[in-house]
């Protein structure tokens, strides 16, 4: 596929509007407090009762960072106080001890992912205690495709850390880079040298990690074509197995740190588009495959293979080859996806800790998916992972007439078709090569909750499409 011809500025500009990233459907704003601990317990038990219970995927959120990156919209706590990490770890161990016994013991853990914040805010011995506890209370799969992954801030990796992580069983790493340009780094308060970063990538390879991912961001303040091209070339030269290129979402009303960013220094719509186009061109020329929604991978990487085989899956951790696991989120603000339910832990440290100290599962809010939610989630998942929707298969599986069921979405879909972003056929709706960069715009047509009258802040809640 020749991607270079497919970024159409006119279209992209028109659709550069806020939209969910669809790491889940329904999205988190739909979660409500009527779904609590009791409901989560019921969904876990229901899963255990299935003839072949699903395996487990574990996400652990570590919210701490040493310093604030101004672009960040994650749930995090800025501190240099290591005792906070220790206290947090103690509570994580409590949470593990409480939730793990609810799962049938033969439900293997296929995936552990540590995200943040900065997971390596915790020192390797602390991470060791975390994994040891997970391994004792859950059952780790011994399968070859078991993934233990960790997001790393290369600025706080010390000699020997990576080997220690490999020793603990980690086999995938994701490094935050964003941009190597010093002006940009200064503007976003994240100064990180190329040498530092390369040393960590090399250490991961040396320790036998199966893949290394690098995160970049376009649309940052002071970012220029030339500067970003250099960053891209530097990163590509290191040949990470996977690359994520996120568009910066400037939502200062929601994320306090972003108020430090000067709007005047942000690239305009045309500039953002140029940066994205540059990234796509450079990466495809270097042999990377576009996976969908900001993600690229080398053809020999598992993600590319899984996409070709139709086995790609998307969840809160991004893309994964482990479809159909129950996802257990641990830590402050973490989201679980158990059976047809979502549930989320409290977003504030105190709330999460108090729940654990009072012998409860720290469920703050959640949602039980109904038939319509499951159907739409399936469609959006197919779009995000394969870039198309198997209309005929959906009709058979759910016993619906697709055209009739989605009559309300049809005018919008036809408009997108008219603009060359997708093709509408009896059997299949497929994003065109041009539409593949606007998957979330297509997905939004199927989002029942967006079709309700929007509240004042619902447009501000989501980042822009490009």
């Amino acid at each position: 596929m020749n991607e270079t011809t497919t970024i159409d500025s006119e279209i992209l500009r028109r659709y550069d509007r806020p939209g969910p990233r669809y790491t889940s459907y329904p999205t988190a704003p739909q979660f409500h407090a009527a779904f609590g601990e009791m409901q989560l317990r019921q969904f876990i038990a229901r899963g255990n009762a299935e003839p072949i219970p699903r395996p487990i995927s574990i996400y652990v959120h570590v919210p701490f960072c040493f310093s604030p990156c101004f672009y960040c919209g994650c749930n995090r706590v800025i501190t240099r106080d290591a005792t906070k990490g220790e206290r947090y770890l103690e509570h994580l161990l409590l949470e593990i001890e409480r939730i793990a016994p609810l799962f049938a013991r033969d439900r293997d853990v296929m995936q552990v992912h540590l995200g943040g914040g900065t997971p390596n805010f915790l020192a390797p011995p602390q991470l060791g205690r975390l994994l040891d506890s997970l391994g004792r209370h859950f059952h780790f799969s011994t399968a070859r495709d078991r993934d233990f992954s960790i997001e790393l801030d290369p600025r706080c990796i010390e000699d020997g850390d990576i080997d220690a992580l490999a020793e603990l069983g980690f086999n995938r790493a994701s490094l935050g880079v964003q941009d190597f340009n010093p002006d940009v780094q200064d503007a976003v308060n994240r100064v990180q040298s190329v040498e530092q970063t390369m040393a960590v990538i090399d250490a991961c390879r040396g320790a036998g990690f199966r893949s290394v991912n690098v995160d970049l961001i376009y649309g940052l303040p002071r970012q220029t074509q030339d500067g970003f091209r250099q960053t891209l070339d530097t990163v590509i030269a290191a040949r990470p197995d996977r690359l994520a290129i996120y568009g910066y979402a400037h939502l200062p009303e929601l994320f306090k740190a972003q108020r430090q960013i000067k709007v005047a220094e942000l690239p305009d719509a045309e500039g953002r588009l140029g940066l994205l186009r540059l990234a796509v061109e450079r990466l495809t020329a270097a042999g990377y495959q576009y996976i969908g929604m900001d993600h690229f991978a080398l053809p020999e990487d598992d993600l590319a293979g899984a996409q070709a085989a139709g086995g790609l899956h998307r969840n809160f951790m991004g893309y994964t080859t482990h479809a159909d696991c129950d996802l257990v989120g641990l830590g402050v603000s973490a989201i679980s996806h158990v059976g047809d339910s979502f549930s989320q832990n409290p977003r504030d440290l105190a709330g999460w800790e108090i729940a654990l100290e009072s012998d409860r599962l720290p469920v703050w809010r959640g949602l039980e998916l109904d038939f319509d939610d499951v159907l739409r989630a399936d469609i959006i998942q197919q779009l995000m992972c394969q870039g198309d929707i198997g209309v005929a298969a959906i009709e058979r599986r759910y016993g619906i007439d697709f055209r009739h069921y989605f009559a309300a979405a049809w005018p919008a879909l036809e408009q997108l078709a008219g603009e060359g972003l997708l093709t509408l056929a009896q059997e299949r709706i497929a994003a065109t090569s041009r539409g593949r960069y606007l998957l979330r715009i297509i997905a939004m047509c199927f989002d029942r909750y967006l079709q309700k009258p929007q509240t004042a802040d619902s447009t501000a809640r989501y980042s822009r499409a490009i």
Binding site: P51, I52, D106, V374
Partner: protein, 250 residues
Amino acid sequence: MTEPRGARPAPVALADDGNELQFCSTCAFSSACLDSGYDKSRLKALHVLVEHTAPFREGQHIFREGDDFNAIAAVRAGTVKTYVTDLNGREQVQGFFLPGEVIGLNAVSRARYPCNAVALDTVLLCRFSFPRMATLATQMPGLQQQLFRLLSEDIGKATLLAGDFTAEERMAAFLVLLSRRYAARGLSPTRFRLTMARTDIANYLRLAAETVSRILKRFQSDGLVRVERREIAITDRARLEDAARNVLRN
């Protein structure tokens, strides 16, 4: 293609419903009564109460061990599990009853229910007063034969898995029998929902829960069945029957 989590379940195993005057199509007695020239209105005239009960919800008990026995009941919709609790307090599953099948037959000899019966999902029943039905049977050879047949089947079901069979043989026999029982009620023999929990299946087959899953996974990778959450699709009937042959002997 594999089914996604939460895909619409296979059609609920609810037989087409009868009314005051018509038998439900799955009724265990309709053929016996009709063959003898009795329709439902005649039964009513003979004071054999055919009483449709209010739905039982998942987990609700229909009768408990030791309760006075006064009625047998045909399942109209849903699945009923029967079990006893042993001296160690452990549950021992005795059987599962699908639409068209009759619960309570094992209570006849002692005038008390010898086990517990619990609804595994939403269950609808049709209750027959047993003393009246027994009286009627003395005048109605067809009904008597049908009662004997039901009693015999009940005994046969109870002893079927008593032999020294492998876990694979037990599991295969369980699936084949479910398939035949659904087929007998006019429901799909190749796609049905396992309404019972994994631990119930394991308990009934005298296997560990883990073993149930392990064998189903093997059946699945061998192409015999496809399992998606609680839905079972039998994809190679001949080989599944073959695996069950030692238990079923036919």
